[in-house]
Each structure stands twice: as C-alpha cells, then as structure tokens.
C-alpha cells in the first residue's frame, strides 16, 4: 500500500476543561474521499482545524505523505498543500471573488488583479464552475460563496482538501454540482475529507467513513459495506430508532388563515403570488419548495417582518375566540399573540443569538420584557437554559459558556429550543435541522410532534422531502412564489412533491435567491 496523504496519530486537543479530541488516529489516502462523521460537538471541526493550522494539537503527531509535519499556522498548512473550506465561510465581504482568492499569496511577478481573474476563469472552466471573478462577495448567494472558497483552495494548488459541512446550506441540486466537482478532484489524485451530517450524502460521495464520538475515535468503515443504521449506531453509541411517531391530528381548529397574499420585492418582482392556505391547531403543516421559492418571505409576512401588498392574514385567538387581522399588528404584538417564528439562517449566529453572551442571557433576550421592576430576574431563564441543555442534549461545559464557543450544531439547538420553549400557539420553523446531527434532528422532530399534540399549529419549512413526508400532516408546495399544491402527507409521494416543486419554475434551481 502507498503512503497515506494524511496520517494522524494520537491527536489530543483540549479547550480549558473540555477535551475536544482525545487520542485520535485517522488516515486519508490520495485519490479518495473520506467522510468524517460524528454528532454535534464530537470534535470534527476541531480535528480538521489542526490540519489547517487554526489550532495546534496538545499531543500527537501529524504525518503528511509519510513525513512528520508541524502545522503551527494556516501558512504552514498551505506549505503542506492543505486547503480547508470552513463551516463558517472565511471570505472578506467587500472584496471581489478574485481578491479573496489571491489573499495572502506570495506569487512572483507584479500584482495584477486582471491576471488573477483570468486564471480564476481558467480553473472555473476546467471544473465547470460558474462564477464572475469580479463580483463582490456580499452580492453573492451561499453557493457562489462556496464556489469561491473551493476555487481559493484549487488556485493555491492544494492536494489535500477539507470541507466542513459544505452542503448544510446548499440545495440538493447545488450539492450534486459540488459532488461532481469533488469526484473530478478525486480523479486528479487529491485527498478529500468531507464533513456532513446527511447520511445519504455520506453514502453517496465517500469511499470510507470515519466516526468520532464525544471527542474519541470510534472506527472506520468502507462506505460500500455499511448503511445508515450502522453508521448512526456507531455515532451515537447505542441503537437509536429513527422513527417519527406521527399521531393523528386532534381537535383541529383553524388557527391562521392566509388569503391571497401577494408580495413584491424591491425590484417589483412577485416573490409571493396569491398565496392562500389555513394552518390548523394540532397539525403540522409542511412547506416544501426549491430554496428561494418564497418560504422566507411567507414566514416573515406572517411574523410581521415583511410588508405585503395585498391579501390578508387572520389569526384566530384561542384565548378570546376572536379573529385578529395581523396586518395592523407590529412584530412584537404578533409574537405576544403566540405566533412564533424560528428561522435558522445561513449564518446561525447572525440572527437571534448573541455569540458573546451565555446560554442563559440568550434566553433572556426573548423574555426580558416580561419581568417587573428594574432588575432582571435570572432564575427563570436559567431554568429554561438548563432544560434546553438537558432536553436537546446540548454539548456544553455549562449554561454560562458563551454561545460562540459551542460547536455549530449546538449553537443551533439553543436557537431552536428557545423558540419552542415559549409555549406558542403557532410555531413556524425554517430549516430547523440545518447542521444538526441525525440524532439531534430526530430530537427536534419529536419536539415538534409534542408541540402538535399540545394543540400548537406547527408550520415546518424543510428541505428533506423524506422527512417532510414522514413528519407532516399536510404539505404545501411552493413554486416560484405560488402555491402549486397542498397534499396529504400520508398519501403523497416524493415524486409528486418533486413535480409540484418545479411546476411553475422555468429553470429549476437556477432562478433562486
């Protein structure tokens, strides 16, 4: 056997009292795609960051092409031809794609951005990317940003490529495009490590899978010889049943009635076009659609965050029995009525959480108006924080840890847990399981189910069609801002949803964002 491209021996890394990685051994070969799997907070990002020079191991050795390597900084990592695409993009917003790509390079010759742009176009052509090198990052969609990240690594001529959850925010179509590129790079003989929580992607793209659990190395399997159930068991450490226990909707009442909702964006294009539906208590209404078909605008219109041009949204208040027109209400009043929105944005820390504050304080952000008197009462939010940490199995040293220190998935559990905890009457969640490991995803599904049983009207915007079909009672399909159908989830099929999703759109995934 040839020498592996990367070999990690007994790597250990601690942060204060937390051991993020403990005696981890791992090998990656050239011309292979290795998938790194593990629950949220199991230490995947930490381990990879030691290869890219962001962290330095406390103990252990790294071998690159059979020779021991000391990687003290990202610069050292480049010298070993290691390139990493981080979970949170590392791009300068106000720079162009080309400027971001040459950043930090010590090329010979005069610095001329035009030459760089030409070279970027060459790389794009070779791998089939579609990118404008002189476009500013802040004008780009997530998948464009990711393309820039990948070109950045290719431009530097990396032989080892690490991708940390590259697909978390991509649509299935974009993911397939990315995978095609990765396969091409594999053929070029590069060694690739990919982190993803989506098991079907693991099975699709990788040659081997290595599993981490709570900072420890569990084992490596050949992808061809394993299945989702076995991988999940390795990850969690025990047999878990991945079933969603869907109960029959009970005591359904119309809770929210949307009629003829139409909404134009700043360019005068209809992002929502004559949307009508009813959300009922005790029921989960799924919303399916290609990314950017109007999901965000719809939820925000209900929450009072988005102005709409015509149509009405009426809320039937279970406390008073009266119908309230939400158009005249402020977002705060809508929230007070019990209509809650938890939207998990692409940038998890960007919306709704303050990275420097601990979990308790982040709970208080949503409830501080409640208490009387000058001083804040911290006991209630502290209880809440404790409950969320317990119920959602948040991996954290304690509830007073600043949120930014948590791993990506755990940050998200805090965000979702907080919205659910506020005993809403209408609960809207979008992409609630983005970046969550499979076990945590099911925790969230079951939480939503128990909300439904309590009589909450749940609106669930999801990406995974299988989950939508299993979890929801009815599914509304959005296509280019219109309702292309509302189906019974028990009777519908994936194919049917897929057809409805692309019914009105001209170019599939191309006309999004």
């Amino acid at each position: 056997m040839s020498t592996p491209a990367i070999e990690l021996k007994n790597i250990t890394k601690t942060f204060g009292s937390i051991t993020a990685n403990k005696n981890i051994c791992l090998t990656v070969n050239s011309g292979e795609i290795l998938s790194l799997l593990g629950e949220n907070g199991s230490g995947k990002t930490t381990l990879m960051n030691m290869l890219s020079g962001i962290y330095y191991p406390d103990a252990g050795q790294i071998f690159i092409d059979g020779k021991e390597a000391v990687i003290k900084s990202p610069k050292d990592a480049f010298d070993y031809k290691i390139g990493m695409i981080h979970q949170h993009f590392k791009l300068v917003d106000i720079f162009t794609a080309a400027e971001n790509i040459v950043l930090g390079l010590k090329e010979d010759g005069k610095y001329n951005i035009k030459d760089v742009e030409k070279k970027v176009s060459e790389i794009s052509a070779r791998y089939g990317f579609d990118i404008n090198p002189s476009k500013k990052i802040y004008e780009m969609s997530v998948s464009e940003k990711q393309t820039v990240e990948i070109i950045k690594v290719l431009y530097k001529g990396a032989d080892i490529l690490i991708l940390d959850e590259p697909t978390a925010v991509l649509t299935p179509q974009e993911t397939q495009k990315l995978f095609a590129v990765l396969r091409k790079m594999k053929e070029d003989g590069k060694a690739i490590v990919i982190i993803t929580h989506k098991l079907h992607e693991v099975l699709d793209i990788s040659d081997r899978v290595s599993v981490l659990r709570k900072g420890e190395y569990i084992g490596t399997l050949n992808t061809a010889e394993t299945n989702e159930a076995e991988l999940t068991e390795m990850m969690v450490g025990k047999k878990v049943s991945l079933d969603i226990n869907r109960t029959e909707p009970e005591n359904c009442e119309d809770r929210l009635t949307v009629q003829g909702l139409t909404c134009l964006n700043s360019d005068g294009v209809k992002v929502l076009d004559d949307i009508s539906f009813t959300a009922r208590s005790g029921e989960i209404l799924g919303i399916a659609g290609i990314a950017g078909s109007g999901q965000k605008e719809l939820l925000e219109a209900i929450a009072g965050l988005q102005k709409y041009d015509s149509g009405s949204i009426v809320y039937n208040d279970p406390k008073t029995g009266s119908a309230v027109n939400l158009k005249s209400k402020t977002p705060y009043q809508i929230k007070e009525l019990g209509v809650r929105l938890s939207f998990v944005p692409e940038d998890r820390l960007g919306m709704g959480l303050v990275g420097n504050m601990d979990i308790t304080d982040n709970m208080m952000l949503r409830s501080y108006r409640k208490g009387r008197g000058v001083f804040l009462k911290r006991s209630a939010p502290r209880e809440l924080a404790k409950n969320i940490v317990k119920d959602l199995e948040v991996v954290t040293p304690g509830i007073s840890t600043p949120v930014r220190r948590l791993s990506g998935g755990n940050v998200q559990k805090v965000l979702v847990g907080r919205e659910i905890s506020l005993s809403p009457t209408v609960l809207m969640t979008a992409y609630a399981v983005r970046g969550l490991d499979i076990n945590s995803s099911y925790l969230i599904y079951n939480l939503l189910n128990s909300q439904k049983q309590k009589g909450v009207a749940v609106i669930f915007v999801g990406e995974d069609l299988d989950v939508l079909l299993e979890l929801c009672d009815r599914i509304l399909v959005l296509s280019s801002g219109t309702v292309s159908g509302i189906v019974d989830a028990k009777a519908a099929t994936k194919e049917e949803l897929g057809r409805l999703m692309t019914k009105n759109s001209k170019g599939g995934a191309d006309n999004e964002q």
């Binding site: 990202p74 610069k75 106000i94 610095y111 802040y138």
Partner: protein
C-alpha cells in the same frame, strides 16, 4: 478680493497639512483594524521629539547647517512617534489590551510629554525664555526656489516648505499601496476580517505592528510640520490644540481613503480658520464656527450609516482584537 481668497486658500492648505499627515497615518493604522486614538498624543510627541533633536543640534552649534537641522530633527521626530505607536501595538496586539483605553491613555500621555519637555527643555540647559529654533525653522520653511517668480499662483500653491508636499505624496502613495499592491490587499483583509486573513496565511501580528508604527510615524510628521514650519521652530504648550482629533474626524469624512483625505484636510483646514476671514464675528460665533468640522463629520457618519453602502463603512473589525483559537 482675489487676493483675500488666495490668502484664505493658502491658509487653509497650511492648516490642512498637519491634519493630512494625521489622517493618512490614522487611515493606514485603521486599515489593519487598529483604532489608534493615541494619534493626537503621537502628533504631540512627533512635534516635541523634533524640537528636542533640533534644539540639541542648534544649541551646540554656532553655525548650524540647514540640511543637518532637518535630518536630525526629522530622525528624532520619527523615532519619537514610532516609539509611541510601538507602545500602542504592543499593548493592543501582544497583550490584547482594549484599543480605545490604550489609545486615549496614549493621547493623554503624549500631550503631557510634549508639554513637559516644551516647558522644561530650556531649564535643563540653564536657559530661560521659550523654545525657538531659528535655523531649523528656517530650513523647514524654505519654499520651492521658483515660487516667488510665479506671482499669486506661486504664492498660493508653491510657497510651502517641503513637508507640505511630502504630506500629499505620502497620501497618494498610501492610496496606491492600499489599492494596487498585494501587501495593501492583505492589510485591508486584516482590518475587515482577521480570521479570514489568518486562514489565508497572512502574518497578522507583523502587519498590525508595521501598519500601526508606519501610521504613527506619518501622523507624527504632522506634529513636526506644525512646530517647524507653521510656528517656525517655536514651541508653545498646547499650541497644537485639538488638531489630532480633527485628523481622526477626517478619516471618517474621507471614508478611509487617503486620496480623499487630501482635499478633506484642506476643507477642514479652511473651516478651522474661516472665522478669521469673516469680518465682524463675535467671539462666541467664532467658537461655533470652529465646531463646524466636527458637525460635518457627524453628518457624514449619519449619512454613511443610513446609506449602508458596504464600501463606505469603516473596516469591519475596527477596534476588535483577534485571537486565533478563540471563536
């Protein structure tokens, strides 16, 4: 009338030069994400170090050579301001001290240092009176040789000492450096997003130190220009006034662009002295007019915050310290 306007323009330029040095220096510093509020103090130190150097040379020589007068005081000035900015870089970068606190402390310290030496330098050498470096001042003030042959134009635009032209050249070179060179690109990336710059393999510590020190040295020249050219080698305590703060205001007004800092400085310089050219002003009206530059800065701030154009914002990580393993 034409003559008065020409006089005013000339005065505005003279007033603008120290501001331009200060603003360019601060822009270079801020581009690395360091909000150096010690600039006003550093400009004082740049002035007094030049004075000390000049005095030591002139004092021991009966026939001071002009070129040596310049070289010695220039070197001392640069050293003084470099040292001050080194303190800032060390405290904020290596010891991760809060940037605002460090900067403000440095300004208080710098002004105090200037006034202390300004008041006691002569006493150390057993002299009395106030500091006045005649030969050095003259050397600095020497105008371009052909200035007086060009009439009003020559007098308005070409009659300054060499530091005035240097200020403009430095601003232009800084602008080219930031937009056209690899190092400039790297520096801007650090100020915008140090984690990204770090992941791109850029030595953040090196860049932050170098840009802070270079920026401080440039700003210090503003103090030197003031004491050597504007006041012709004489020191008066607190004579430099609030010009350092004005320079920081210009950074905002010029939207962190050294080229725009050039005309911004001249506008601010004009506003600073316009009250002298408006006849019949009461002293309270004068004070209000002196407030104008700050008022304009606040308006610009409101304007750029409202417009939200990404390119017009301050460097995104300005004032924050960066530590790689923290997240």
């Amino acid at each position: 009338m034409l003559f008065t306007i020409a006089q005013f323009i000339k005065a505005a330029i003279i007033q603008g030069i120290p501001l331009l040095f200060g603003a360019t220096g601060e822009i270079i510093t801020e581009k690395s994400g360091n909000l150096n509020l010690g600039i006003p103090g550093i400009m004082y130190v740049g002035g007094i170090s030049g004075i000390i150097g000049g005095y030591l040379y002139e004092h021991g020589n009966d026939n001071p050579v002009p070129i040596l007068c310049i070289l010695i005081s220039l070197a001392c000035s640069l050293m003084g301001s470099a040292l001050m900015s080194l303190i800032y870089a060390f405290l904020t970068q290596t010891l991760k001290a809060n940037q605002n606190v460090t900067g403000l402390a440095l300004t208080t310290f710098g002004i105090g240092l200037g006034n202390f030496f300004g008041g006691s330098l002569l006493k150390f050498f057993g002299e009395t009176g106030s500091i006045s470096l005649l030969s050095t001042g003259l050397a600095y003030k020497k105008a371009l040789p052909f200035a007086d042959k060009l009439g009003l134009f020559g007098d308005t635009f070409l009659s300054f000492g060499f530091l005035a032209y240097l200020a403009i050249i430095i601003a232009i070179v800084s602008s080219l450096f930031l937009s056209r060179t690899r190092a400039g690109l790297n520096l801007r990336a650090i100020g915008e997003n140090p984690a990204t710059a770090d992941a791109a393999g850029i030595n953040i510590t090196k860049y932050k130190y170098l840009s802070t020190i270079a920026g401080g040295m440039i700003a210090g020249l503003g103090g030197l220009y003031f004491v050597m050219d504007y006041t012709a080698g004489a020191w008066t305590n607190n004579g430099f006034g609030d010009r350092g703060w004005l320079a920081i205001a210009i950074v905002i007004f010029a939207l962190w662009k050294p080229k725009s800092a050039i005309w911004s400085s001249f506008i601010f310089g004009g506003l600073y002295i316009i009250c002298v050219y408006i006849p019949g002003l009461s002293s309270s009206a004068k004070e209000i007019i002196k407030m104008l530059p700050y008022l304009v800065t606040i308006l610009v701030l409101i304007f750029i915050s409202a417009k939200k154009k990404k390119e017009h914002q301050p460097p995104a990580s300005l004032g924050l310290s960066y530590f790689r393993e923290d997240r």
